[in-house]
């Protein structure tokens, strides 16, 4: 009998088959986060992004419109471009110098007459088009040149994501990081959307917000979540915010949605953060974080730091007191909610291969965990019905 972990078989979290199936049917079939809009700031700039099985690059044309293509030379398939860069008018494959213009047309083949004496129809060898769009200041790519629009995909959940205008905020580069978690990507998602754990795992790190008054739900496969500041924090909120406001008054609270698949946002009164979850293997996941703050002067930041100091100086601390810590770098004594989450995910993944693993009943605050599993099943069903 298949061992189940709520709606999904435990295999879905441990097997190579499930990993490949999700890569093929989920991460290669959806709109995928590809960076912030400012990563491609001017005509000629480009970036490439791995989106499931597809490597897609985005380049800005002189009309300031973005184009997306599959990063595959039409000759022998070599990846055309690396990471990020800037070009004037053309992209050349390093292997045999086949060259494409920014519309994806193949414009030159070296030694064409000699190498292809019977001729070659360059017009049939343009780069394969993909799609790109910008939404809430983020780049998204889709492998299909005619995909459902972002309105169809995110439209219903959009009004529930907070009043932030990320395109008007500025990135705080020190907060940009990427790290790996030794757990299946769904474990990481489930941790992100588990409302029950907020008051427990993070009993001493996230209590400036009032988890008991959280409002959350689903729009299709996308999860939305909002919670108000806790009374202590709210009492003098404008003074207590650690950095200047990123959204206007009277908006308050934390918006922490998880868009499908694995696109986490976390936004409060004074910041906007992204939490991008990418599966690397059945039990290995990469998380990328970027943060944007108010477009305010250094002086404004300094003033806010001073005014909020008295609230934060005694705030938080380790979940376990020092005496219970097993070592100096024990995440449970770190006082850092990210370290707490990573620890919980990895500890959970370890048990999934045990023959004695048996999942316990899901709590009310864990209903999003079960619902996310269903979202995966539903998405797979739709995709596999179509193939």
């Amino acid at each position: 009998m298949t061992r189940m972990y709520h709606r999904l078989p435990v295999d879905a979290y441990t097997s190579q088959d499930w990993f490949e199936r999700e890569q093929r049917q989920v991460f290669s079939r959806t709109w995928r986060y590809a960076g912030l809009a400012e990563d491609v700031p001017e005509p000629g700039h480009f970036v490439s992004i791995q989106a499931g099985l597809n490597n897609i690059f985005i380049v800005m044309g002189r009309d300031h419109r973005l184009r997306a293509f599959h990063n595959i030379c039409r000759h022998r398939g070599t990846q055309l471009i690396r990471a990020v860069g800037k070009t004037q008018k053309a992209l050349t494959c390093p292997y045999h110098d086949w060259t494409y213009d920014l519309e994806g047309n193949l414009i030159s083949i070296p030694d064409e007459a000699k190498e292809y004496p019977n001729g070659v129809d360059k017009s049939c060898l343009g780069l394969k088009p993909a799609s790109v769009d910008i939404w809430r200041g983020m780049l998204f790519v889709h492998p299909d040149p005619n995909p459902p629009s972002l309105v169809e995909w995110f439209g219903a959940v959009d009004p529930l994501l907070g009043p932030h205008k990320p395109e008007e905020l500025v990135e705080y580069p020190d907060a940009r990081q990427s790290y790996e978690i030794k757990a299946n990507w769904k474990i990481v998602v489930e941790n992100y959307i588990d409302v029950y754990h907020l008051s427990h795992l993070h009993s001493n790190t996230l209590h400036m917000y009032d988890h008991a008054r959280a409002e959350y739900g689903w729009k299709g496969p996308h999860y939305h979540f909002w919670e108000p500041p806790a009374p202590d924090y709210a009492k003098d909120l404008e003074k207590n915010l650690p950095t200047p406001r990123a959204i206007p008054e009277p908006h308050i609270g934390a918006w922490v949605p998880m868009l499908f698949p694995g696109i986490g946002l976390g936004a409060g009164e004074d910041s906007w953060n992204i939490f991008i979850i990418t599966p690397l293997g059945p039990d290995l996941t990469r998380v990328e974080n970027r943060t944007k703050l108010a477009n305010a002067s250094g002086w404004e930041f300094q003033k806010q730091e001073w005014s909020s100091w008295s609230f934060w100086k005694d705030f938080g601390g380790p979940k376990y007191p020092d005496s219970d810590a097993i070592s100096e770098d024990d995440p449970m004594a770190s006082g850092d909610f990210t370290a707490e989450d990573i620890y919980a995910c990895e500890q959970q993944q370890k048990s999934l291969t045990s023959p004695y693993f048996e999942v316990g009943p899901a709590a009310n605050g864990e209903s999003p965990v079960v619902r996310h599993q269903q979202a995966i099943l539903d998405f797979l069903e739709t995709q596999e019905a179509g193939t």
């Binding site: 044309g61 002189r62 009309d63 973005l66 519309e103 769009d133 910008i134 309105v151 439209g155």
Partner: protein, 352 residues
């Protein structure tokens, strides 16, 4: 397309830009509501009789779909119909109107998320105004940027209405006035002086680059403007299939690269016969107009059919022939505004 005329009652006449243009609103009876459905950007043909002579003109509907049927007619110096509308038409009058048609149309889609750039000048604003309204009302995830050329504030059609849209839809609509001869005391402060040219286009696109990446460009202006704007866009690598345009008055814009040959045309018009020389780069209509004759014509883009004639000898090439059915072409009908000569002797007749 329904080629019949229907008699519609004028419900409102409103002078625009101090009487230099006129907005005419029609009552559409319930039983004709479906017949008179339109897409933003389409036009209607009006028919008048002056001294027992029929005059047809096509005018763009300047309201978005769902609003009352309204056209906005700018006076043409010496223009028979535009001045009649401006001087004599009044509420309660009946006018023959052919149902809406036209290929230059924008169908708003609430599930689309697009960036629309509109480039207009003069009365070319009329279809764009309907389109902008349709986008703001029906395509709520899309944005619209208008770059609008005029001589001065006083000749700017829909200036106040556009200002209102800008306030109501601040996050989704930007408005740039380009004035060639701005007066000092005008209520409109231009974004730039001059024309809607390559430089203006480049700066506008850089100032408000597309966020939604399904980008569409809509151009409607007189004469050379369409070609200038589309050339400027193509110089920025805008793909041709994203550019939509319609010519308003002045020289004809042709998308086709086919050129004609010099010819001699025998033209039957109003019961008389004239010899008209046609040069290689001239349409028959322009050649006939250049000869001082007054053939019927209207849209000059091949969609209204007003300039229809019958070819009885020789051959022509038509750049566009939307107003003609295949059977019309078989019978020898041509659109004189779209025809260039491809044989050196032609005979055509505008008379039935």
């Amino acid at each position: 397309m329904n080629p019949d005329f229907f008699s519609l009652k004028v419900s409102e006449i409103r002078p625009e830009i101090k009487g230099k243009a006129t907005s005419v609103t029609f009552d559409t009876p319930t039983n004709l509501a479906e017949t008179f459905c339109w897409q933003a950007g389409q036009h209607v043909t009006l028919r008048f009789h002056f001294n027992e002579k029929e005059q047809r003109r096509s005018y763009t509907i300047s309201n978005p779909p769902g609003a009352p049927l309204r056209i906005t007619v700018k006076r043409v110096a010496g223009g028979l119909v535009s001045n009649h509308i401006g001087d004599h038409l009044k509420p309660g009058d009946m006018v023959d109107v052919m149902p809406p048609f036209g290929q230059f149309s924008l169908t708003p889609d609430p599930l689309k998320r697009r960036t629309h750039y509109f480039f207009g000048a003069g009365s070319g604003i009329t279809p764009l105004f309907a389109m902008i309204n349709a986008v703001l009302k029906e395509e709520t995830h899309s944005v619209a940027h208008l770059i609008y050329g005029n001589a001065d504030g006083e000749s700017t059609i829909f200036g106040k209405e556009l200002d209102k849209l800008k306030i109501e839809h601040a996050a989704r609509f930007t408005l740039r006035h380009v004035l060639s001869a701005p007066s000092l005391w005008s209520w409109i402060s231009p974004w730039r002086k001059g024309r809607v040219d390559a430089e203006a286009i480049k700066i506008a696109v850089t100032e408000t680059p597309p966020v939604a990446q399904d980008v569409q460009y809509w151009i409607c202006g007189p004469g050379a403007m369409n070609k200038d704007v589309s050339n400027a866009l193509m110089a920025l690598d805008v793909p041709a299939n994203r550019i939509h345009m319609e010519s308003f008055g002045g020289a004809t814009m042709t998308a086709s690269s086919v050129t004609g040959i010099a010819a001699k045309a025998q033209v039957n018009l109003g019961g008389s016969t004239y010899e008209v020389p046609v040069s290689a780069d001239q349409t028959l209509l322009n050649a006939i107009l250049a000869a001082g004759l007054t053939p019927p014509f209207s849209c000059q883009s091949g969609v209204c059919g007003a300039c229809k004639a019958r070819l009885t000898k020789g051959q022509v090439h038509m750049h566009a022939r939307m107003a003609l059915e295949d059977s019309d072409v078989t019978r020898g009908e041509i659109l004189s505004c779209q025809s260039v000569a491809t044989s050196d002797e032609l005979s055509i007749s505008f008379d039935n």
